[in-house]
C-alpha cells in the first residue's frame, strides 16, 4: 500500500478528480497549501505599495492506492499538470509507503480498506 501525493494547480483540480474517478479511485483528500518554488511568484499592489506573493496557492492531493496501481496513478497525475502550462512551476508527485490502512466505517484493514 502506498500514498501518492501530488502538488497541483488549483485549476487542475477538476481534471484530476475526473481522471482519478475514471481510473476507479474516487477516494482522495485535497489540502490547500502554499507552494514555494523557483518559479511562481507574483506582485500585488495595495495603496501603491508593491507586495510580493512568493508563496502561491496550490493543492495537495493524497491518494491511498494499492501497489499495483501506483505506476498508472503516477503517470496519470504527472500528465495532468503538464501540457498547457509548460515552462513554469508544474508540481511534484511523490510516493511513500504506508504500513496499514483502516476503513473506519467497516473496520476493514489493509488493501481492502483502500
Amino acid at each position: 500500500m502506498k500514498l501518492i501525493t501530488a502538488v497541483i494547480r488549483p485549476e487542475d483540480l477538476e481534471t484530476t478528480r475526473r481522471a482519478l474517478a475514471a481510473f476507479g479511485a474516487p477516494g482522495m483528500t485535497v489540502t490547500p497549501l502554499l507552494s514555494g518554488s523557483r518559479w511562481n511568484r507574483h506582485l500585488e499592489v495595495y495603496r501603491a505599495e508593491v507586495l510580493v506573493a512568493d508563496l502561491v496557492p496550490r493543492l495537495r492531493i493524497d491518494v491511498l492506492a494499492n501497489d499495483e496501481d501506483i505506476p498508472d496513478l503516477v503517470g496519470l497525475l504527472a500528465r495532468i499538470g503538464r501540457p498547457p502550462h509548460g515552462g513554469d512551476d508544474t508540481g511534484r508527485v511523490w510516493i511513500s509507503a504506508v504500513e496499514q490502512v483502516v476503513r473506519v466505517r467497516t473496520g476493514e484493514h489493509g488493501e481492502p480498506a483502500i
Binding site: 485549476e11 496557492p57 496550490r58
Partner: protein
C-alpha cells in the same frame, strides 16, 4: 458691523422641499455607493469582486462629469429640435450644455414642464444632483450583466457615451417633457428610464461582449452573503429617496410613494420566498431569492409609486414577483435567454420587473392618488393618473405605457448595440482569456481579501520580481479554489 443676509429667497423657495430633495438624492446615491457596489461585490465570485466594485465607483464618477458638462441638459434642458405634441412644445432630446456656473443656484426649472407642475421650491443644483444620482445608478445596474469579462478600459469609454446617447434621450422623452411625456405616458421614478433601460442595455451588452469563461459560469458561487445583505438593505431603504424624491416636493404623494414602495417590496419578497418554498427544485427559501424578490418589488413599483394606492402596490408586488420568478426559472432556460450570459440576471429583476410595473400603471393607477393638489385657479383640478380598473374601463393609459416601453426598449437596445460595436472597433470589449482566468489580480493587482502573508518588495531581501503578467498571476487567481 451688522450685515443683512437672508438664508434663501423668500419666494419660490421652501427649505423643507430642498431638505427633502437633497436627502432623497443622498439616499439614492447611497444605493449606488456603497449599496450596489457591495451587493454586486458580494454576489460575484471572489475573483471578480474588486473589478466589480471599481467599475461601480468609476462609472458613478464618469456619469457625474458627463452630466455636469453636457448631459444633464440633454435630459432636462430645452429641446434640441423642437416638436409639438398635443399642442405643447416637445422633443426627443435636450440640447447639450454645461451645468456648472453660479446660475445653478437659481430656482430649478425643467423648461418643457413649465406650468405643467408646480414651480420648483429649490435651486437648479438640487434638481441637477437629484437627477444625477438616477443617471449614475443606471449603468451601475447593468454592470451586473457584463461583469466577469468586460474590459475595464472599455467600460470607462462606454459609460460616458451611454449616458449621453441612451440615458439622456430616455430621460428626456419621459421626464424632461419630451415626446412620451406629452403623450401622457408616465414613469413615476424610473421603471422605464432606469430599470427597463438597464435590463435592456445589460442584455444587449452581454450578448455583444460574449459570455464569461466556461469555468466561471460553472463556478459562479457568490463570495459573501453578509455583504449582499448589507447592499440589499441599503437598496431597500435608499429606495425611499428614489421614489419619494420624485414628486420634487415633500408632499403627501412623496409619503404615499414611500409607503407603496415598501408595500410592493414586502409583497414581492414574500411571494418569491413562498414560490421558492413551494415550487423551486429544492423547496427551500433562500436569502438570495428573497433579495431577488425584494429587488423585483422595488423595481416594479418604481414607475407606479405615487399613482397607485396601497392595494395597487400589493398587486404590483405580487404579480411582478410571480412573473419574474417564473421568468428567472423558466425563461432563462430557453431561446436567447439561455444563450446570453447576463451575469447577475439584470434583464429579469430590472428589465422585466420594470416593464411589468410600467404596464400595470395602466391598470392600477388610482385617480384619487393626488400627485399635485389643485391650485386656486378656477376649474383647476389635481394631477393624477387613471388606470383601466379605475377609469371607466379605458385602456388609454395602458397603451401609452406600452408604446413608451417599446420606445425605451428599442432606443436603448439600438443605442447600446451601436455604442458597443463602434467602441469595439477601437478597443477590445472583452479581456483576454488569460486575464479572465485570474480576474482581479490580473486587472488590478488587488484581491478582495488580500493574503496576510504578502511581503513588501525590498523587505527581507526579497529578490526583485517582475510585475504580475497575466500568465504568471493566473495561478494565483484560483486561490479561491484552494479554500475549503
Amino acid at each position: 458691523m451688522h450685515l443683512d443676509y437672508i438664508p434663501y429667497p423668500t419666494t419660490g423657495y421652501s427649505s423643507g422641499d430642498a431638505a427633502w430633495q437633497l436627502t432623497a438624492a443622498t439616499l439614492v446615491g447611497l444605493m449606488s455607493l456603497p449599496g450596489l457596489a457591495v451587493l454586486y461585490g458580494g454576489l460575484v465570485q471572489k475573483k471578480w469582486a474588486v473589478n466589480t466594485m471599481l467599475m461601480a465607483f468609476s462609472a458613478f464618477s464618469l456619469v457625474l462629469i458627463v452630466w455636469a458638462l453636457w448631459a444633464f441638459n440633454m435630459g432636462f434642458g430645452h429641446p434640441w429640435i423642437k416638436t409639438t405634441v398635443n399642442g405643447s412644445p416637445s422633443g426627443f432630446l435636450g440640447k447639450p450644455g454645461p451645468a456648472l456656473g453660479a446660475g445653478q443656484e437659481a430656482q430649478a426649472d425643467i423648461p418643457l414642464l413649465d406650468g405643467l407642475m408646480p414651480p420648483f421650491n429649490f435651486s437648479q443644483s438640487a434638481l441637477f444632483y437629484f437627477q444625477f444620482v438616477f443617471a449614475a445608478i443606471t449603468p451601475l445596474l447593468w454592470l451586473g450583466s457584463v461583469i466577469g469579462r468586460m474590459s475595464f478600459k472599455a467600460w470607462l469609454v462606454i459609460v460616458p457615451l451611454w449616458t449621453t446617447i441612451v440615458y439622456s434621450a430616455d430621460a428626456f422623452m419621459l421626464w424632461g417633457g419630451g415626446y412620451w411625456a406629452g403623450k401622457g405616458a408616465v414613469d413615476y421614478s424610473g421603471g422605464y428610464v432606469i430599470h427597463l433601460s438597464a435590463g435592456t442595455a445589460g442584455f444587449v451588452a452581454a450578448a455583444v461582449i460574449g459570455p464569461r469563461l466556461r469555468r466561471d459560469r460553472e463556478h459562479g458561487a457568490p463570495n459573501n452573503l453578509l455583504l449582499c445583505a448589507t447592499g440589499a438593505g441599503i437598496l431597500w431603504l435608499g429606495w425611499n429617496g428614489f421614489n419619494g424624491g420624485d414628486p420634487y416636493f415633500a408632499g403627501a404623494d412623496a409619503a404615499a410613494a414611500v409607503v407603496n414602495t415598501n408595500i410592493a417590496t414586502a409583497a414581492a419578497l414574500l411571494v418569491w420566498l413562498i414560490m421558492d418554498y413551494a415550487l423551486s427544485p429544492t423547496k427551500k427559501p433562500t436569502l438570495l431569492g428573497a433579495i431577488n424578490g425584494m429587488i423585483v418589488g422595488l423595481v416594479t413599483i418604481t414607475p407606479a409609486a405615487g399613482y397607485v394606492n396601497g392595494m395597487g402596490a400589493i398587486c404590483l408586488g405580487v404579480i411582478s414577483s410571480a412573473i419574474v420568478w417564473t421568468a428567472w426559472y423558466k425563461l432563462s432556460k430557453v431561446w436567447i435567454f439561455k444563450k446570453v450570459d447576463d451575469t447577475l440576471g439584470v434583464v429579469y429583476t430590472h428589465g422585466i420587473a420594470g416593464l411589468s410595473g410600467g404596464l400595470l400603471v395602466g391598470l392600477f393607477a388610482d385617480p384619487n392618488m393626488i400627485v399635485y393638489p389643485a391650485g386656486k385657479a378656477k376649474g383647476s383640478s389635481a394631477f393624477s393618473v387613471t388606470g383601466l380598473f379605475y377609469g371607466n374601463h379605458s385602456w388609454h393609459q395602458f397603451w401609452m405605457q406600452l408604446f413608451a416601453a417599446l420606445t425605451v426598449i428599442a432606443w436603448t437596445a439600438i443605442g447600446t448595440f451601436v455604442i458597443l460595436r463602434v467602441v469595439g472597433l477601437f478597443m477590445k470589449l472583452r479581456l483576454p482569456d488569460q486575464v479572465l482566468e485570474t480576474g482581479d489580480l490580473a486587472v488590478h493587482d488587488e484581491e478582495v481579501y488580500p493574503p496576510q502573508t504578502l511581503t513588501a518588495v525590498g523587505a527581507a531581501a526579497a529578490p526583485a520580481v517582475a510585475p504580475a503578467a497575466a500568465e504568471e498571476s493566473e495561478s494565483a487567481a484560483s486561490s479561491g479554489a484552494s479554500e475549503p
